[in-house]
Amino acid sequence: MKARITVTLKNGVLDPQGKAIEGALKSFGIDGVGSVRQGKVFDIELGDLGQTQADDVLKQACEKLLANTVVENYHVETTA
């Protein structure tokens, strides 16, 4: 089983890196860009786990380390 975890900043949290990227895109003349928020993606290979167990493991990984839930949200997707 494989999982992809996406960690993004919560709404309202200032994202200076996203802002800098947004500014760069606009200065390169790439039209139509509204705003940019930067996040992180983790691709995780899981051992032989059932879906419920995998969900548990991934939730633990997110809450304990991958996301700082004070300022970040996480989203988990699993594929067989």
């Binding site: 380390l65 991958l66 700082n68």
Partner: protein, 228 residues
């Protein structure tokens, strides 16, 4: 005063803070992060500056989960003193010993320069050798020092007088261009609810010798030395 400095892979200011503590008269030991216990008789734990784990994932995130941090949490829970400087402040926030987060500097730039601070109060173990509202000159060197927390937490920090230092200019005027990173309410350092844990972005340990810029950092360490 027995101080234990926790050393993580990538810490690089442990000797400087050790020198500052020794100059103030404290006994210093260095503790590797994989240790499960602090040296017997530890009064003060110091989390030094640096780039623990290369700042991977988030600054201080991986170090905050080290074995030694469980011992630090237990020490703090008993009322023991804990000082986190720069990366140490980031580790304290990541480990839940202090509220909030240190985000990327507003200008998205690593900033290394002299910095003035206003000492907000002088009735804590850390600031007793300063005067209240004294302006001191120390150093900053960080890319992620932009302190933020939810508005409830900020309100609580302010109401409980838990702001230790604020960024100011040489004349002691807070904020504006003197804020190097965009930190909420110009907060440069904050205390835990029992005032036994202090996290601060600036480096007081750099300013303990007149030959290299000044002595304004030393009172923090002499004050701590008198705490035990």
């Amino acid at each position: 005063m027995k101080a234990s400095i926790i050393v993580f892979p990538g810490s690089n200011r442990e000797r400087d803070v050790g020198r500052a503590l020794e100059k103030a008269g404290s006994h210093v030991s260095y503790v590797w992060h994989a240790e499960h216990e602090l040296p017997i008789g530890t009064d003060l734990v110091v989390l030094p500056g640096g780039f623990s784990y290369g700042d991977y994932l988030r600054c201080g995130a991986i170090a905050a989960r080290a074995h030694a941090m469980d011992a630090v949490r237990a020490h703090a829970a008993k009322g023991g003193l804990v000082l986190g400087i720069c990366n140490g402040f980031q580790i304290l926030c990541e480990s839940g010993l202090l509220p909030g987060v240190l985000m990327r500097n507003e200008q998205v730039r690593f900033t290394c320069r002299f910095q003035h601070l206003r000492v907000e109060q002088n009735d804590t173990a850390f600031t007793r050798d300063y005067a209240r509202h004294q302006t001191i000159k120390v150093c900053i060197a960080h890319g992620e020092g932009n302190y933020i927390a939810d508005s409830e937490t900020i309100k609580r920090l302010e109401n409980e007088n838990r702001v230790a230092f604020r960024y100011c200019n040489e004349a002691g005027i807070i904020g504006g261009a003197a804020n190097p990173n965009g930190a909420t309410n110009d907060m440069a350092g904050i205390y835990s609810d029992k005032f036994n844990v202090l996290g601060m972005m600036p480096h007081p340990e750099n300013l303990i010798d007149a030959l290299v810029g000044g002595m304004d950092g030393l009172p923090l360490f002499t004050g701590l030395n008198r705490a035990a």
